[in-house]
């Protein structure tokens, strides 16, 4: 199967051919030709202003009564008795979705020895009901047990939407939940909304952040998505009411062929990066490992963390745990300062959600300036010392 061209409407303008990420559209004398490389991604359909392209009609139609699924759920992640920030963010986002659908917002809490305090916290961020599964087997996270528990809960309560953070935990076990429920899953969303037909519109970056795609799951329930930390805004409202339901699950939910032997916490830069309010990152423009003291000094002045581009990591100037970007960390601090970083798309996807972005680069045409709030075209070795001096003058 491949995309379909309507020869009557096609003007052979070539826009689709340039847009096709698979390089599957060739221009012939008076028509475009689609090769077997077509992956049916549909990008061409959207770029054609003449409406000449379409995808073949498919789909198996709703498998059952979708209307019997009601409610929005958030998987509530926690560490050492504290709810993970992304769960606050998701509850606030889920609150908006639940209100648009006119349904209840629920949170799911799995663990061992859970007190009501965490559940109460989930309520203050918008949950109307918190389902708690408390069992000794859930003390340590394992994909098998955690996914079996959620699958069982969903089968019992039938929510229409299930959201989780795109953390290492969420990205690890939520796909198994989706497969267990035989439903679609959209990874790493940055935007969620309800469409006119009531479907969950899930928007995420693709092709290394070069394009954004909105995805739906029209024929299966629940609709599932993992969402990037730090993109939704958490809203706390004290004094909210909600109920806490402790649920007993059958023993098969706790069986696993995996044993957690050891958990090694690393209080390293990695964790600091994702939680930092300010990040100062350096790239290949720094020219040496020693010069990173400029970055460290500036970060220190603003209580910030130190990040790096892959360029700097590849040079061996910074440890991989500092890398921001597609193959590093996704961060969204209040302030992100990119110094001597060109702004390759793989770097941009990891930081463009930051509130304020400052770019320091001597090349005025560097793509990092495309995402910058404040652009400083300057030699970093002149600018950084001057800026540090200016900050210090105030103290």
């Amino acid at each position: 199967m491949k995309a379909i061209v309507d020869g009557q409407k096609c003007t052979v303008c070539g826009v689709c051919s340039d847009a096709c990420p698979m390089g599957a559209i060739a221009l012939r004398e008076n028509q475009v030709e689609i090769s077997d490389d077509c992956s049916l991604c549909g990008i061409c359909v959207d770029t054609c202003e003449f409406g000449a392209l379409s995808l073949p009609e498919v789909g198996h139609g709703p498998s059952e009564d979708l209307g019997s699924y009601r409610g929005v759920w958030v998987y509530a992640e926690w560490r050492e008795g504290k709810v993970h920030g992304v769960s606050h963010e998701l509850l606030s986002a889920g609150r908006i979705l639940a209100d648009k659908r006119g349904v209840e917002l629920g949170a799911v809490l799995l663990g061992s020895g859970l007190d009501d305090q965490m559940a109460g916290e989930l309520i203050s961020y918008g949950a109307e009901v918190v389902y708690v599964v408390d069992a000794p087997e859930l003390a340590h996270f394992t994909d098998e047990r955690y996914s079996k528990c959620i699958v069982e809960l969903v089968n019992r309560k039938r929510p229409e939407i299930v959201l989780a953070g795109a953390t290492s935990m969420g990205r690890s076990f939520i796909p198994r939940v989706a497969a267990g429920l035989k439903t679609g899953l959209t990874a790493d969303c940055t935007e969620l909304d309800i469409g006119d037909e009531g479907h969950l519109l899930q928007t995420r970056p693709a092709f290394g952040g070069n394009i954004m795609a909105t995805i739906i799951c029209p024929n299966r329930r629940p609709q599932m998505a993992t969402v990037r930390p730090k993109v939704m805004k958490p809203v706390r409202m004290d004094g909210r009411q909600g109920r806490i339901e402790r649920v007993e699950l059958p023993s098969r939910c706790f069986e696993a062929r995996v044993e957690v032997l050891e958990v090694i916490a690393e209080q390293d830069q990695t964790a600091k990066l994702t939680e930092a309010d300010v990040i100062v990152s350096g790239g290949r423009g720094l020219r040496s490992a020693e010069n990173f003291h400029l970055i460290e000094e500036l970060a220190g002045l603003m209580n910030g963390a130190v990040g790096a581009s892959r360029g700097a990591v590849e040079e061996g100037w910074m440890a991989p745990s500092h890398q921001v970007g597609q193959t590093g960390r996704t961060v969204a601090p209040t302030l992100y300062v990119a110094v001597g970083i060109s702004g390759a798309v793989q770097h941009l996807v990891g930081m463009q959600g930051s509130q304020v972005i400052v770019a320091v680069n001597k090349d005025a045409s560097a793509p990092i300036f495309d995402v910058a709030t404040y652009g400083v075209v300057a030699d970093l070795f002149e600018f950084l010392p001057e800026f540090v001096k200016r900050i210090k003058r105030e103290r």
């Binding site: 198994r176 092709f207 954004m212 400052v358 200016r390 105030e394």
Partner: protein
């Protein structure tokens, strides 16, 4: 021990960029590469083969030219290659991909360990591995950076999490998704390259897998892309001009106004 490594051919995103005028992807001169994470998986499998002895099969689902990717890994020392290729597989989302890949694993029958990359850099979903594990009902661990085989029938792995690392013990057969720390891919050897050139690559279509056509490709996908657009770029950027002192002063004032901590 029979290890299957799942690899995917992806556009080399290093060279992908957006045309500033049309806001579309420019793909000219963009080559296909093996998903970098999958190369770490290949390396992981070959290390086990070196140390403990194993048969390594590489498998990919993709268009006919994906055979090149398989040949490349044969050149590194993989033993067999299987290409899953059929028009019926086109347009697969992660569910349909996992369904097809796991059908092929079932057909092979004797698989002890499946290795996948952490994620494919074109789609970035990181879903195919865990979904396959669910469909095959085997235990799995994600983001693995070290694999140890001590006891027969079991595997010890060190996995990277947001908070640190975890040591897990898994019962075989199992599936792992791996990250860079597992090891950079080796260089191809002449001997393997010679063999790779002549090697026969098995091609399985749906005739071989026998899946319900409604469960593969676009038809078998639960998710649908409804809109594609360029990410919004900031248009209201403020360019700071003047002398270095002037630039520093301006930036300081702006950040102070934005209530940046410490200023």
């Amino acid at each position: 021990m029979h290890i299957v490594v799942c690899i995917k051919q992806v556009p080399d995103t290093k060279n992908v960029r957006i045309d500033p005028d049309t806001h579309t992807l420019v793909r000219q001169g963009v080559e296909s590469i093996i998903n970098p994470f999958d190369m770490f998986a290949v390396e992981g499998a070959l290390k086990i083969k070196d140390l403990n002895g194993a048969r390594v099969t590489v498998m990919t689902m993709g268009p006919p030219q994906a055979a090149e990717a398989l040949r490349e890994t044969l050149g590194l020392g993989a033993d067999d290659a299987v290409l899953l290729s059929d028009r019926a597989f086109a347009g697969s989302d992660t569910w349909a991909t996992s369904t097809t890949l796991s059908a092929a694993i079932r057909k092979m029958g004797d698989v002890d360990l499946i290795l996948c990359g952490k994620q494919a850099v074109d789609g970035d979903t990181a879903q195919v591995g865990p979904e396959m594990a669910a469909l095959l009902d085997v235990p799995y661990a994600t983001f693995v950076k070290k694999i140890d085989i001590e006891e027969p029938g079991f595997l010890k792995v060190l996995r990277q999490t947001d908070e640190g690392s975890e040591l897990w013990k898994l019962q075989l057969p199992a599936l792992l998704t791996v990250i860079k720390e597992l090891g950079e891919p080796r260089v191809p050897s002449l001997r393997h390259k010679m063999r790779a050139k002549k090697a026969e690559i098995a091609v399985w279509g749906n005739a071989e897998l026998g899946l319900d056509p409604n469960s593969t490709g676009l038809c078998g996908s639960f998710t649908q892309v409804v809109r594609v657009f360029s990410p919004q770029r900031r248009t209201n950027r403020i360019q700071l001009e003047g002398s270095i002192e002037n630039q520093a002063e301006q930036l300081f004032q702006y950040l102070k106004k934005a209530r940046v901590p410490g200023l």
